[in-house]
């Protein structure tokens, strides 16, 4: 019973995160949803694995790189909206 609840919660957070990542117009919000996904996976490790610590570290690294990209975009464009990026369409 306990097992099911944790799995359901993690699946729920995961789906919220994926939905938010796909449909967000703001870059910072997309990064937050990425973090949400990784944390949703993290609460699933039942046996006290060391793997969750790896996931935490990598999520932190990825968030820092994402923030660096966001800040460089902001300096160039003064906004962080993703739907303005239409330069690379064919």
């Amino acid at each position: 019973m306990m097992l099911e609840h944790i799995l359901v919660l993690s699946a729920y957070l995961f789906s919220i995160g994926i939905y938010g990542l796909i449909t967000s117009r703001n870059m910072v919000r997309a990064l937050m949803c990425l973090e949400l996904i990784l944390n949703a996976v993290n609460i699933n490790f039942l046996k006290g694995n060391i793997f969750s610590i790896f996931v935490i570290a990598i999520a932190a690294a990825e968030a820092s790189i994402g923030s660096a990209i966001v800040s460089s975009i902001y300096r160039n464009r003064k906004s962080t909206r993703i739907n303005q990026s239409t330069l690379l369409n064919k």
């Binding site: 699933n44 990209i69 460089s72």
Partner: protein
């Protein structure tokens, strides 16, 4: 100060790829591609001032982040399945779900069929930024006095025939050596600006090729060792991916007008062929054919990305031998549908390769371009001998 950053990114990327190829458990299979991908995001977004590269990096980062999170979701499902189910129950739905997740996760990294959206944008954004910044750098002596380290270092390396930093990636496959020779021979007849600057797309070539190699190596290990007993299911999944990527990659490449995007789409098609090799497996030399094809693919792609003007006629031909071996193994195992689609799409791909060659030969005004006049001193002869020797050795 800036050079340390740049070299660090490149070397750490290579390190991540090497760790991936030598991974033995699931933790490494997660951490190593993450290490690789994070450094590739940094490499692709290195030129901060250019808006197009920023946009390309954004797309790459979001897609790559999503795919890594899907991969890690699969890994934890795998852990749960291993912890809860006896070793006799191989066909449980948990394994199927885990399998689907991991295929999607690896699918993003390797970019076959459905998840190829970010590849052409990435290539175009990165190439644009590096190309224009190098052109401004070389043509303007006043800029050169400034301490802009990566451009200085790379242009110095190319001017002085020392591409030692490239040798680090030889550990991934041995065919990077042929690329070094190509660059060195290219020095002799770069008369125009374009001819010189065409070589400077090394970064994108490096990224594209190493990510493919690393991801396909990890895919073979993952699909073959833990999922050995449910091999029917992942055969079907990989078949679908291979068909989609071959068809999509080659068909869309026909309609492209920008050369960089066309090469990106053609590389998507190449991955479809590689997946056939993964499906075939070990019994009939499937892995051997996949590795051979990867070698040819690497030399071909590195060559085209880095010296686009001098495509020549040989690289597609050598690649055809690799494809032939792949298709032959596939036919032996019984994947008739896949192999026939592969043959059709190879014929289609000849079309856009020949378009490049025709452009090379005739130029804009239907005249012979100066590059064809300089063809006698081309590097393709040296590439010939190396690829022919690889061919004979493998046969």
């Amino acid at each position: 100060m800036a050079i340390a950053e740049f070299l660090l990114f490149v070397l750490t990327t290579t390190l991540g790829g090497m760790f991936l190829c030598g991974a033995n458990d699931l933790i490494t299979i997660f951490v190593a591609p993450e290490c690789f991908s994070l450094c590739s995001y940094l490499l692709s977004g290195y030129t901060k001032k250019d808006v197009r590269s920023n946009e390309a990096t954004t797309k790459y980062l979001l897609m790559g982040g999503a795919s890594s999170s899907i991969l890690v979701h699969e890994i934890e499902l795998q852990e749960i399945v291993n912890g809860l189910i006896n070793t006799q129950m191989y066909n449980s739905p948990g394994i199927s779900i885990a399998l689907i997740f991991i295929t999607v996760g690896i699918g993003f990294k390797l970019f076959p069929g459905p998840s190829h959206q970010w590849t052409p944008d990435l290539y175009e954004g990165m190439l644009h930024s590096w190309f224009s910044s190098f052109r401004d750098y070389e043509c303007n002596r006043s800029i050169r006095r400034q301490k802009d380290h990566p451009k200085m270092i790379i242009s110095w390396l190319l001017r002085t025939n020392q591409i030692r930093w490239f040798f680090f990636s030889i550990f991934l496959t041995c065919s990077y050596g042929t690329k070094v020779e190509k660059i060195e021979k290219n020095q002799s007849f770069t008369t125009t600006d374009e001819g010189f600057l065409e070589k400077l797309r090394i970064i994108v070539a490096f990224l594209s090729v190493t990510s493919k190699v690393a991801a396909s190596a990890s895919a073979t290990r993952i699909f073959y060792i833990p999922f050995y007993f449910s091999s029917n299911e992942w055969h079907i999944l990989l078949e679908i991916l291979a068909i989609l990527s071959m068809i999509l990659g080659n068909l869309i490449a026909i309609t492209q007008t920008s050369m960089k995007r066309m090469l990106a789409y053609s590389s998507i098609g190449q991955i479809g062929y590689v997946i056939i090799g993964i499906i075939v497996g070990d019994s009939n030399g499937g892995y051997a054919s996949m590795i051979t094809y990867m070698l040819f693919y690497i030399s071909m792609n590195l060559g085209t990305f880095a010296c686009i003007v001098l495509f020549g006629g040989l690289p597609p031909l050598a690649g055809f031998f690799g494809k032939l071996h792949l298709f032959w193994c596939g036919w032996q195992v019984g994947l008739y549908f896949l192999v026939s689609i592969g043959l059709l799409t190879s014929v289609v791909s000849i079309y856009y390769y020949l378009k490049i060659i025709k452009l090379l030969m005739t130029g804009r005004n239907q005249e012979i371009t100066p590059h064809v006049r300089n063809y006698k001193r081309s590097p393709l002869r040296s590439t010939n001998s190396i690829e022919l020797s690889i061919l004979f050795f493998q046969n």
